[in-house]
Amino acid sequence: MLYEINKLIRVHQGRTILDIPKLVIPAGKITSLIGPNGAGKTTLLHLLAFLDTPSSGTISFRSSPVHFVAKELHLLRQRVVLVDQYPILFTGSVYKNLEFGLKVRKIEKKKRRPLIQEALEMVGMQDFMNAEAHKLSGGETKRVALARALVIKPEVLLCDEPTANVDSENQEIIQSILERANGREKISILFATHSLSQARRLADQTVTLKDGRPSELSRENVLPASIVGQDEGRVICRLQNDVHITVPAASHSAGISNVQIFLNPAKISLLQSGEPFAAQENLLPGKVVKIAGGNGQVKITIDVGVHVDIFLSLPEYVRKPPLIGEAVFLHIPDEAITIE
């Protein structure tokens, strides 16, 4: 366990901006933090980076309660690093920026250059070592900021919307950097994002915040859809890539054509080849594309034209584990579908 939050409240100018009864962030994993603007994502990241103090409640880091006093916070900040949504680079060269964290950790001068070289190579910015930091583009700045965070080999990397306001090429690069940092460097990562597809692609676990509180509703499968017709008391919804599902007409307000559909991953059934099933509504063929474990359950991502996550308990998974690339069917019962 990396972080454990209990009854955490953060009040700012009389307004409660964060109210989390309980939240556990696992160690060694990638956790995404999803929520609309103003949901409290940045505040939570600042608290977890020990840059802000809760109004009440507790945060435990690696099973030790955090005391928000200057000396302890300084020590904790040596282990956790936050990359801002709009990172700012210090005046000077890219090298000087990366050297800063090493300098404050009193790393010998001769050892700094290879570490900096390695970090820049990791983000694909090795040719920019002597470039003026303030002359970099937005995407390059984000990558250098990530390198500056990674060069100090933190236990935890917190990223506030790491791919916001960068082009698709840099988005792809940044996502790969995060994956490598977690996979190769074993750094626990927590990142805030608006992108469900990014959360789905990168994260082992997703935490949803709404109005400063963890949302009860699972955000694993939030899919934009359009209503394209009705058939026998059921509304036909078209998802991306011409995937169709139907919902009872009663669950949809008439007149709205563009909706969001939530598919509760705990209530979706996975049917593997050879398993008997009757002809049913919302039976979608697909392929297993990702399997991730944690917290006693296994998250399996199925590509049915759109990516859909489902959760299996560990015994369920062990009984007949699906394989990456295996053709399967998903059955999405009505009770798994919420339409907004």
Binding site: R77, V81, F90, T91, V104, R105, A149, I152
Partner: protein, 234 residues
Amino acid sequence: MDLIIESFKAAILLILARDHELLVIVGCSLKVSGLATVFAAVVGLPLGFLIAFTAFPGKRLTLTCLNTLLALPTVVIGLLVYTLISRRGILGSLDLLYTQKAMIIGQIILIIPVIATMTIAAISRIDKRYRTTAQTLGANSCQVAWVICFEARYGIIAAAIAAFGRVIAEIGISMMLGGNAKGFTRTMTTAMALEYDKGEFILAVALGIILMGLAFAINMIFQLFQGRVGADAV
């Protein structure tokens, strides 16, 4: 008109000839004002930084007081320091009156608010993310402070330059606390006033040219630093 032209010509010749009296006066001015700026910076820069960097009750009132002190007339400071260091003052035993030290003390009081307020403005302009970035990278309080000062360096240097410009051109403190003693406490401004009283315009004009030249150089440097601040902010 002839008087002006003749005075101007004679003044240029005086400067080119490196007139001894002229050099002594200019040297005294530079020494007193230079030292006053250094000592005021030692107090004013950290004071300005602390006020800008920390949140404390009464911060707004402190800022208002500092801004008010910017308008303090030099003769008021002269009078205040005079009451302290004159024979009947509490520091009378130190025998400071009509010395360069007395002038320096007065000028320090004059420019500490200038340096402090300009430092506050320079630090306040620095993006808050510099602080959190330095903190999250593991910097301690001193290292964070250094990062912010480094980013605000042009504004801070501009504060010191502006303060020097203020004291090199002041006359009230120099006259009241220095006494305008020839070869000892006579500065460019006090000498100009004396020469004017005597009707001797040549030395006054020569000193005026040097003072204007210094003021121009200071402003050039000031503009240079201000320009860098503006360019960095873009």
